[in-house]
């Protein structure tokens, strides 16, 4: 052991000081990186939320039909508010494959294109196109009919294959509707800014199915996280739901928890927003 030498106090002090400096720097870097990582993940989630919200709302609203001063059946927007809208949401389109009776419509399964199959329990209803004088569009109408039953264990005549049979209340207007006529399946929906568990969400429910409102996306900023502006043909805000030609949708999201935005600063909730405007595709006529 004679040839082994220890460190002097000065050497140890210098080494410890250096270790503290290097260790501190490494720790600072680690913490900063971790904060940035978490912040970025939160921002990404927030942006994704906002973007998804805009898409969901836009897709559900763009097929709406409005007719200025038109009757209730011709206007799919039922009530409007700054952060609440009820409307007839189109869920699919099909084409009649067999001459309908007063209580039954059969559509070809292969021709049905929908968000989902027609459902009963009051959730879904349908519109049947009624073409009066075939030379003119002036008397064209869509006949509203309730759906009381759905059967998929049916077939269309000829080579049209499987069918979907919709049972309806006795509706004389269905008799004489020609094969090939289009029908729309719809349900009455509500979208609104919904508060649950102390936070605001984009809430949705099927009114026709009697559902309670459920949060589908969020969290959103309290008060104005989901905001709708209804515009007429001139692009001005209108309170007349039959005059609506486009809807401006603003989604303001907020992070789920407080995050540190970077190296400095205290943790805070971050926000992001997206504004989209959807032209109602079936409201193109003045």
């Amino acid at each position: 052991m004679a040839n082994r030498r220890g460190f002097t106090l000065a050497e140890i002090m210098i080494a410890m000081t250096l270790m503290l400096i290097v260790g501190g720097a490494a720790f600072k870097l680690l913490v900063t990186t971790q904060r940035l990582s978490r912040s970025q993940a939160e921002q990404a989630s927030l942006q994704s939320n906002v973007r998804m919200g805009s898409l969901v709302v836009l897709n559900d609203l763009r097929e709406l039909n409005t007719v200025v001063g038109g009757s209730a059946d011709r206007n799919d927007i039922l009530t409007i508010a700054a952060n609440d809208i009820t409307y007839r949401a189109m869920r699919g389109i099909g084409f009649i494959c067999q001459a309908p009776t007063a209580t039954q419509i059969r559509i070809a399964r292969g021709s049905f294109s929908g968000f989902r199959d027609p459902q009963v329990g009051g959730r879904d209803s349908l519109y049947v196109f009624v073409d009066g004088d075939q030379d003119t569009e002036a008397d064209d109408t869509w006949l509203p009919v309730a759906i009381t039953g759905v059967s998929t264990a049916t077939a269309c005549p000829g080579a049209l294959g499987a069918g979907i049979t919709l049972t309806t209340p006795n509706t004389a207007g269905l008799v004489g509707i020609p094969v090939g006529t289009p029908i729309h399946i719809y349900e009455v929906m509500e979208l609104k800014l919904h508060v649950a568990d102390g936070k605001s969400w984009l809430g949705a429910r099927s009114i026709s199915a009697g559902e309670a409102i459920q949060p589908v996306l969020g969290p959103l900023v309290d008060g104005n996280g989901f905001q709708l502006e209804y515009l007429n043909a001139a692009g001005a805000i209108t309170a007349d739901r039959t005059a609506i030609k486009s809807i401006r949708i603003t989604i303001r999201g907020i992070s789920d928890g407080a995050v540190n935005p970077g190296v400095e600063g205290s943790p805070t909730y971050v926000q992001d927003s997206l504004v989209t405007q959807v032209a109602l595709r079936n409201s193109f006529r003045p």
């Binding site: 870097l29 971790q34 763009r62 097929e63 084409f95 196109f129 003119t136 094969v179 090939g180 729309h184």
Partner: protein, 381 residues
Amino acid sequence: MRTQRLNDERGMALAVALFALVIIGLLVAGTFFSGRLEQQSGQNTFYAGQAAEAAEAGISDAIGSAVPTTLMGLTVGAPAVDLGTVSLGSRVDVTKQLSRLTSSVFLIRTVGSRRNAAGTAMATRSAGSLLRLVTPHLLMRGGLSAIGDITVTGNATVSGNDTTPPGWKVSPAVDCPPEADKPGVAYNGTLTQTGSSQITGNPPKQADPTLNASNLMGGTDFAALKALRTLNLTGNISGIGAATTGTPPVCNTALQNNWGEPVDRTSPCWNYFPIIYHYGDLSISGSGLGQGILLVEGNLSVQGRVSFFGPVIATGAVNVRGTGSDDVKFYGGIIASDVQLDDSRLSGNATVLYSSCANRRALQGSGVITRLAERGWVQLY
């Protein structure tokens, strides 16, 4: 002096440094992965938007390029007809299909796609539109119908016998299901026939004192037809004929004297049926062929070597002159109506032949293709 190796020295600096590097690396990788995921998500949304816009553009393109006679040629319930694929640039394209749902309702289905460099679809979206054909509604009572006096002189010929225009029977024949013959002339005034003129039909002459402006065209009126006009004439016409533009050639519908091509089926104007309207007295001279519906809110004077396929309606007097070797031929019929009607006169080699086929083609061909006024746009899945 020999350096001594510290074989038995212990330390953890390297291990701590490596551990810290691994942790930092993981965090950086996680951040990078999260960012990449977000970037891809945004890109997918962008691609989906491009595909959706392409699908909607395809609908507009299909409506704009659809020809009424093509639509009417489709069989109800038959499989959809492929209208081809249109490239919109930037690796975006749209395919279009058209099917006839009922006798008057059609469906356009489009699929927009955003592709990568290899041609693989990165996003597709479908959309559809319900269309209908709005056709003019018109009932021709015979070869020549008038509220007022009719004079037929010279070598003029008027026939109410259903006539298929020459050339339309050549294979493949134009679809012309025969209809019942009609009166040669129907009128509620006086008829003067002189010279070598001929009037045939079933019956050849029908005096009908009940004829008036409201029942002359079978339930429609001049104003309703006028509302559908597609070609507004700004002055008299000297010579008519089909004209094309561009390569490949398309029918040049911007010209005042292009009234379609009723004979040459290879012409791009074979399916062009303008609803021609002129306010005030109109004079047509020169030579040429035309088709469609001719509406004149005033007096109509025709002379030269002109043939017209389709109904002709004038609110004032009609004066048709075929002089010398020049023939004026009308396949379809002439209606001269309105309370201000003066008279109608045919002279020289003027021919008016009732033709249900020419009328049907003109009425269907001059129809307007339009989206259903309500609920015409549909989201397809």
